[in-house]
């Protein structure tokens, strides 16, 4: 009690007085710097960008001119002159593509109906599911129409190819390596350190390294290419091989992230259950399916979510490896926005950015809702 009495007495020492003032306002003062910085560098730009996306930017005498043009930037991307760049060039809808599309539509409709007939239906739930379903259908249509039947995907399709393909391969590789590393082996720490390194290497450096490695004439695998009769083949001029090289670089960098976290999760699972199952004669696949997988599923889902968030931002690798080419075949949405900015199309750039924000947010929220949450419910 005496101590508090001493503290409340006004003191003459300025340092102590500052301390007291801070104590009284500590709640606000401790969090304020972070909030102010985020307001200035995230919320304010977000609002300003929304406005920029609705304008046309033009240089004029002694400065620049912003003219409000409504949703025309978005219309240009979705239906107008930039459609080929953003959505892609549409091909013919073949029989197989149509069938695949119908299957997706049926699956989405089935999920929606099942939700509506379930017990917990809410307005937000319905709206959220409608948005997610619309996006899923749109992406499926886009994929079928631009990848098959003679079409070319635009930056949206390419980004989704990078994200879905890359994350799937990285997850599979990371999980496989983690399972191998969790076995009773020697030098586990050596492997752990080595496998971790690529995550820390700058993406720009990785891009150049893989450009060297992929060189069919001077690269280290040149003898193999020559033997296979491929030495004249320029991977950078073929859309799919160029995308593949970008994805290989991305996988090299990000597999460690999934590996590391999954390894920790596998090491944390209860040992007794596994040993009991092994004694009872369960195969290692059965042990994985029934014991390890349920134990690591929540962590696995969370880590995939984190990876998804970062994967949508990809720019360094395609920019340095292929500069978005051939044509626009390897251009991600961030790179698309950057190229639009460089040609002084600020409005178009902001519009692409906003589309990216929309796709990222809906994808990540859906993933959180439909996958991450479900694994956590299973656990408890």
């Amino acid at each position: 009690m005496t101590a508090t009495a001493v503290m409340t007495e006004p003191s003459r020492d300025p340092a102590a007085r500052i301390g007291e003032w801070f104590d009284r306002r500590s709640g606000g003062l401790m969090i304020m710097p972070a909030v102010v910085i985020l307001l200035a560098f995230a919320i304010f730009p977000l609002i300003t960008s929304a406005y920029l996306a609705l304008t046309r930017f033009a240089l004029s005498a002694g400065g620049f001119d912003l003219r409000f043009i409504g949703l025309r930037n978005f219309r240009k991307l979705l239906f107008g002159s930039q459609q080929y760049h953003f959505l892609g060039t549409f091909g013919e809808l073949g029989l197989v593509g149509g069938a695949a599309l119908a299957l997706v539509a049926i699956a989405v409709a089935y999920g929606f109906v099942r939700y509506l007939r379930g017990a917990r239906v809410s307005a937000i739930g319905v709206v959220g599911r409608l948005i997610a379903a619309a996006l899923a259908l749109a992406v499926a249509t886009l994929f079928v129409r631009t990848v098959t039947g003679g079409g070319f995907p635009g930056s949206l399709g390419v980004t989704i190819i990078y994200v879905v393909g890359g994350v799937a391969v990285q997850f599979a590789l990371g999980l496989g390596l983690a399972l191998l590393c969790a076995r009773p082996i020697r030098a586990r720490n050596f492997f752990r350190v080595v496998f971790f390194v690529p995550l820390m290497v700058t993406p720009v450096g990785i891009a150049y390294a893989f450009r060297m490695l992929a060189d069919t004439d001077k690269g280290p695998f040149a003898p193999i290419w020559r033997f296979a009769g491929f030495q004249e083949f320029a991977w950078a001029t073929d859309p799919w091989s160029a995308r593949l090289v970008v994805m290989i670089g991305d996988t090299w960098q990000w597999t460690p992230f999934l590996f590391l976290v999954l390894l920790a999760a596998i090491e944390n699972q209860p040992r007794e259950q596994m040993e009991a199952a092994t004694i009872d004669g369960a195969s290692s696949y059965q042990v994985f399916r029934d014991i390890t997988w349920p134990a690591i599923a929540p962590v696995a889902a969370t880590i995939v979510l984190i990876r998804l968030i970062e994967a949508f931002k990809i720019i360094d690798l395609p920019n340095v490896l292929t500069n978005g080419g051939p044509g626009i075949a390897t251009e991600s949405m961030t790179l698309h926005a950057f190229i639009a900015w460089r040609t002084l199309d600020l409005g178009g750039s902001a519009a692409v950015g906003y589309m990216l924000l929309f796709v990222t947010t809906v994808t990540c929220l859906s993933f959180f809702h439909f996958v991450v949450r479900r694994t956590r419910v299973l656990e408890t």
Binding site: Y51, Y354, T360
Partner: protein, 351 residues
């Protein structure tokens, strides 16, 4: 022991002898897989390193694999980068060091303060106040961009309006947000693609005449990395028992002294992990630097990326630049992998 002799060759190869060891074939496949990936990881780095010691003619004539055997290593590229280019290499390098260190220090300091506050202090933010703030902010943006008001005037009017709102109407509002909402908001900033935010940031620094300076990049990197710091540090602070702080408070220590004298030292492992992670992220950052710096504040990733445009692929010079850029990062990783990994794990496993 007798059981061993009963096993057939197939059993001896494919079935483990006991629960803690592996069967020979499994063991072989496991090590084969692990060494294969080790090769995948190390080969690109090895290739960069040896290319930096090659002469142009050795690169162009096709692949040489082993130094001293296939080709005689030469230091010409290193000499060119460090002696002939000299300052053109060293300036971006020191820019990178200053910017990465400055941003990391700031982000960790500000982020830890916020994370600690979120763990120990209960916040109740009125929903109405947040909405009012956003509306006023949008109004200010509109006034500057459309009506062409000077930004100082608009900001002053907006601030005054907000204060007026807070002292009058805000008292009547009931609904409020708690600590978890604030935390979610801070972390969700990470979902925001940097390319959305960078255009206004570019214009902002242009107006402040701070483009292409260290300040601009340090401030932006601090903001980008804050969510990670808050997210990771919150979990570390949550594990520190509150008793110590309470007894210090009874002894009359101020909140700041408790934070810097007791809490931060206790959270050292967490601080180290977060610091290293953010440092490496800032060191490697490319997109924001691409927008916000041109010459004076150019960082290493930009210098490396620019090699392509200027002189075509001169692999030997490029390799030197990449090697000097990734060498410190790889060294940190190998020496301190345990700490960095712990940071990643806390964040990911707890979600």
């Amino acid at each position: 022991m007798t059981a061993r002799h009963d096993r057939s060759l197939r059993q001896r190869l494919f079935e483990p002898r006991d629960l803690v060891s592996m069967a020979p074939v499994t063991k072989l496949l496991t090590y084969a897989g692990l060494f294969a990936w080790t090769l995948v990881v190390l080969f690109p780095l090895y290739w960069l390193l040896i290319t930096s010691f090659k002469l142009p003619v050795q690169v162009n004539d096709g692949p040489d694999y082993l130094p001293f055997i296939d080709f005689a290593p030469s230091g010409h590229a290193w000499r060119y980068i460090f002696v002939e280019l000299g300052n053109d290499t060293l300036r971006p390098y020191f820019n990178s060091v200053i910017i990465a260190l400055g941003a990391t220090l700031l982000a960790v300091l500000i982020g830890s303060l916020a994370a600690y506050a979120l763990v120990r202090i209960e916040y109740r933010v009125k929903v109405g106040a947040v909405v009012a703030f956003l509306v006023i902010l949008a109004g200010v943006v509109w006034a500057i961009a459309v009506q062409g008001l000077p930004w100082t005037l608009s900001a002053a009017i907006g601030g005054a309006l907000f204060v007026l709102f807070m002292v009058t109407l805000a008292r009547r509002l009931r609904r409020h947000l708690g600590n978890n909402d604030i935390l979610f908001w801070i972390i969700s900033n990470r979902v925001l693609p940097p390319v959305v935010a960078v255009l206004p940031i570019y214009v902002m620094f242009q107006q402040l005449r701070l483009l292409d300076t260290h300040v601009a990049l340090i401030a932006t990197y601090t903001a980008v990395n804050l969510p990670i710091v808050v997210w990771l540090m919150r979990d570390f602070f949550a594990t520190i028992p509150v008793d110590l702080e309470e007894s210090a408070q009874i002894d009359g220590a101020s909140k700041l002294r408790i934070f810097f004298g007791i809490v931060l030292p206790l959270a050292k492992p967490g601080l180290a992990a977060t610091f290293l992670l953010v440092l490496i992220l800032s060191w490697n950052e490319y997109l924001l630097a691409l927008f916000l710096s041109t010459a004076n504040a150019q960082t290493m990733p930009l210098l490396v990326a620019a090699q392509n445009a200027t002189r075509g692929p001169q692999w030997w010079y490029m390799s030197v630049l990449i090697v000097i850029m990734i060498a410190p990062v790889v060294a940190i990783t190998v020496l301190l992998q345990k700490y960095i990994a712990r940071g990643l794990l806390i964040g990911a496993v707890k979600g």
